[in-house]
Subunit: 204 residues, 4 copies
């Protein structure tokens, strides 16, 4: 099973097929859910034969696994990267950046992230459990962000942080259900609006 790119400059044909499968799967999973998506649909969208999928993946489950993984990693990396560039911003600014990066990853960065958000809740245990670890890590990352802000007095001390984190991420994640991706700068605007509602609510 070919997993390494042959080269830096050249993307092997094989690599391309593999990615086409993954991207098609992500798109369909996102729109229709996991069990409503057939391998034949994935193959059609990737412009290969259904049987060929098994050259690259062991099973439909294995495709989902990779889609789910890729999805969360893109969000996580997007947020971490943005905050690394933040320098000495205030806590509120940092959280604002995290909100924007989370939303950008959700809406710009292909279907992987939104597929993850949308379908995870309805998956059977067997498919969920491999992803618990990263999900928890991402939650802890936000908890630290919020906790630092609270310690610095930028979030009221009577706010419980874990419900707050759930509330914030929930509000962000729900945007994939209705948000229109087409307009330029719309994500930035959405981010600022969201931050404003949340923050002016939690500040002392």
């Amino acid at each position: 099973m070919p997993r390494e790119a042959a080269d830096v400059s050249t993307v092997s044909k094989s690599q391309k097929s593999r990615e086409a499968i993954l991207e098609s799967a992500a798109k369909l999973f996102r729109r229709q859910g996991y069990s409503a998506t057939t391998l034949r649909q994935i193959a059609d969208l990737a412009e290969i034969q259904a049987g060929s999928i098994y050259y690259y993946f062991d099973s439909k489950d294995a495709i989902l696994d990779e889609v789910l993984d890729e999805g969360l990693r893109r969000v996580f990396n997007g947020v971490k990267l943005r905050l690394k560039q933040a320098g000495d911003a205030s806590h509120r600014q940092k959280i604002a950046l995290a909100i924007e990066a989370h939303l950008v990853a959700l809406h710009d960065a292909s279907d992987f992230t939104s597929a993850n958000i949308r379908i995870y809740g309805q998956l059977p245990e067997r498919l969920k459990s491999p992803h618990r670890a990263i999900r928890r890590a991402y939650a802890r990352y936000w908890d630290r962000l919020l906790s630092d802000a609270q310690k610095a007095g930028e979030i009221r001390s009577d706010i419980e942080l874990i419900p707050l984190r759930i509330f914030v991420l929930g509000a962000l994640n729900w945007t994939v259900e209705w948000f229109d991706l087409s307009k330029k700068d719309a994500v930035q605007k959405l981010a600022r609006r969201t931050e404003s509602i949340i923050f002016d609510g939690v500040k002392r």
Copy 2:
């Protein structure tokens, strides 16, 4: 097709089976999604034979249709009923009551409401479209609530109301993904917390 209760005092056996099917379906749709749920699973949970389902419903789609409908109507009615009892409360108090009623319907009132919230987004057009009307009506109901509050000066005038409504309902709906229903009064607490975060953010 038997749709009317035979009597006010007695619930006919037939009526009971029909409801058992609906409740079983709602529970399973909520947990597993629509297409991952089989008629056999629904029949098992309702303690009847799979074939018997067709005595009450024309198709799997028809069951979903009713589950979806029931789900949103319960939320809508719950909210309307609560506000009718509100009397001359302030706008903020009215919205707080609406939030609580929405959450109560979502978490207390069986699986119909949460099934609706969870699976609607992944359904094919054919299954979504019959429900657009009520959904829009419910959205307009909230829009009026928020708009009245804004006119009365209880919401900042620079806040755009439609994004606000989406944000608020999104935050509420997302709670079905993680909220633990078991604890008493937990829903009330959640409602107050949510209202506080949102409101102290939007108030002037």
Copy 3:
């Protein structure tokens, strides 16, 4: 899953389908082996649809299981029944009867027995192991038959009994590979000839 006949006089339609599947499977397994036989072939021969097989059986493996079981039980019961009727025959006569009964079961009693003989050796462990117990019981039954004969002096004392049993059963079983079932009384003739060679040998 319906397993009991509804009645003594009437064979239910359901029971008939179940048996038709089993008989078709036995015939095809015998001729082509297990893995070369498709469910579609079984269904065609049983004059039902392939999907309908799953109303009666959980899997192809489950069909094989029952075919295998039925096959050996028919031989075993056939031999036991014949010997019960034998009364006070000599040991050699008893063994002669056992040989005949084994051959009759193998050739007359449908395809179950010969399917069992023919395909067992090439089956994967998973399919073999449930049948080890009966097979061993049948082997022990023959061992006792031969051992009694030896104790009574009707078999030379220098003959090792286990290799002898294997030899005898092997010679009998092999007949399914070439024997023509069509002629009347052919099985009886074959049985007598086999018994004669085994007991008396071929030398003058």
Copy 4:
């Protein structure tokens, strides 16, 4: 298609791969049967790629063909060679040697012979027919052996030879189903025992 050895002293790499395929196939056919064996399994065992098999063979059928052929020729040659060395032995001694040579070929000489014995009966006509000729020739060879013995008075005149030949070869062939190859001299012992039963019988 490379079929000739390049050289007497050197076995070309190509030749080695070809033989590795054949040997792997024989081993797997013997254990699992023809249709349960995949080209991928054969390739794995031969330590090449599945696609490469087609450099040496036209099809799976073609591999079987050669395995089958090789198998019977090894038995046939083994028996002929042994009898050529026999000199002026008695007929019974000659048959004893044939029995031993047949068993040696079956158990010592790799998987080709036992694969042939085990799977031939379940093969479709198309795969059987090319091998009828050699099989018949081998049968005739045994018939002559037995007929000579009968003419010389070493086999009772009332024994029909063709059923006898089938019986004897059947008894020998069946040993592949159960015989343990590991012990030294076990085959010789088995051969002597078999010859004794056939010639002298088991009675005292």
